[in-house]
Amino acid sequence: MAKLYVFGIGGTGARVIKSLAMLLASGVKSNFTEIVPIIIDPDKSGGDLNRTINALNDYQSIHNEIGDFEKNNFFKTKITTLSEVISEGNGNPNVIDGFRYEIEGVQSDTFEDFIGYGSLDKSNKYLANLLFSDENLSSNLDVGFKGNPNIGSVVLNQFSKSDAFGAFASNFKNEDSIFIVSSIFGGTGASGFPLILKNIREGKIFTGNEKQGKTHQFLKDAIIGAITIQPYFKVTNNKKSKIDSQGFITKTKAALHYYSRNVTGNKSLNSMYYIGDFDTKEYTNVEGGRDQKNDAHFVELAAALSIIDFSNSYSSLKTVNGKATNQITFKEFGIDNTTQDIQFTDLSQSTNSIIRSRLSEYFYFNLFLKVKLRNELKHPYATAYTSKIDTNFIELNPFYLTLSRFNKEFRIWLGELYRNEVHFKPFNIEVITNEKTKEVEDISVTDSSIFSIVNGVSEKKSIWEYTPFPKKNYELYISQLNKAAEEVGNSTLSKRFMGTFSLATKSIVNQKLY
């Protein structure tokens, strides 16, 4: 039961974890039986963070009900909270059950209060003034570090002393691995990544006033992969905001220089992934909080794929006494064709082999549920079995309501990837936006032929198309659902529902597209 602990640091970390959840929901496989996301972001009201957490919670509820059903291919990988992992072991009531972890002292303090500036003696005050500007010292920490890694490195060091980190270290097993996701050009991710890595490699946990600390050898010798995300967007000029994207490249260079000595140079990591893009997209400059809600980006999806890649290759990596003994692997993500409108046909064969069929299957499943299900409840797949798929199920069943909510988030995610720059346009969709907020609300499909909506892919015609009674579009889908329902047979309603849709969708995608 090998687990992968995925640390998502800062807003970008959270968004990558959301993309990972979407990939896992669509059936992309990981070689780990469980994934434990640990999001470290002081900005607890961050719009992106909350969307990620909601998606993870919904994923978990869905997986818990149908994940072990062998005829279903969606939501197969278990996503667990750290608290759940701990409760399987010794337990620790001080660790909150959730995906985001608090750092004590950031909720209402300024950085000045956090370091106890007022109580410092004169010489230490001078030192603090040398390291931190007045703006730094007066910064509120509850919206993140606003692109200041010098603040982040002090504050995030607290995480390693938290109950959550202690419980993580105590429950970390020999077969488990770690992956760290962070951006290099901001504040939280840039400072958090080397700190967390250092603390893991030290393998020491200090509780209370212990001076020696307890060594966790498994943690020290963990296989660790990481992706560091280089600038892929910029923010608008805003004199009121302390975030300035003109400094992104300089910060990246400085951080890379630091990493070359203290991250990869000292063999702390086993596998390192890099990604970035031309910063063509300009986001509204928001320092943090509820309004920091950026569209999902293809770079985040590609970054999530690095976690899948790591899960497929980690078994060949090795660490002894806190140092990687394998040749550190450095990987970058690339696509076959440089374009601003990425379709499946522009991706490399290896990327396509992971995502093309899976994303298409989940897209069609999602589309059917949104557009057709309510009006197509009289067919055998819905009615011919003990557990019936009926209006009660789609209006009142908690499983279906959770699935609908997750599916809507999936559609919004696709819509955001579609309209962001670069555009990820695997499907020919229309993005529905809120007139006031301009946020993506949903997507729609206008093409009447549903198998012609995968951009760059032609519908496959079979010999059956030329018979007197050909089944096309949704009718073919329903026919496959009826067939799949026979294969699935009787089971609990949620399992039968997911198994039927999973098998049928896989079958039509194979038959009509790839």
């Binding site: 009289k378 009674f469 089944k471 026919s479």
Partner: protein, 131 residues
């Protein structure tokens, strides 16, 4: 075969000498067999060959039943008429009443066969109504 089908036909319609002539010429056997085969053909056509979600409502099943009815009705008139005219026997309204009865018998066959074979149909296993 004639003895097998005769009671069925004569239960619905028996009139002398028309029914006796049908029996004597062995027409009950051929019509009974035709009815079974036609009904089987239409049921197989509906449940296994057409077998479409968009053509699986009760009224689609009824359309096929009516076609089955029409074919059996025509056969119930044409077959005896051809035979009796060749033999120089003259009947009038009997053909039509018998044709109607034959169509009803064929419809019952279609109904029974439908319920026997629909379980293995992918898209119409609950047509014309749920089990």
């Amino acid at each position: 075969m004639n003895d097998l089908f005769a009671p069925l036909f004569e239960f619905f319609y028996y009139t002398v000498p028309f029914s006796d002539d049908l029996y004597a010429e062995g027409l009950y056997a051929s019509l009974g067999l035709c009815n079974v085969l036609i009904s089987l053909f239409f049921a197989v056509l509906f449940y296994y060959i057409i077998n479409r979600p968009a053509f699986s409502k009760w009224y689609h099943w009824l359309i096929i039943l009516l076609i089955n009815f029409g074919v059996a009705f025509t056969l119930g008139i044409v077959l005896p008429q051809t035979k009796f005219v060749a033999l120089g026997i003259e009947y009038h309204s009997e053909y039509y009443i018998f044709g109607l009865m034959n169509a009803l018998i064929a419809s019952s066959f279609y109904f029974i066969i439908s319920f026997m074979i629909r379980w293995w149909s992918t898209n119409a296993k609950r047509t014309p109504f749920p089990h």
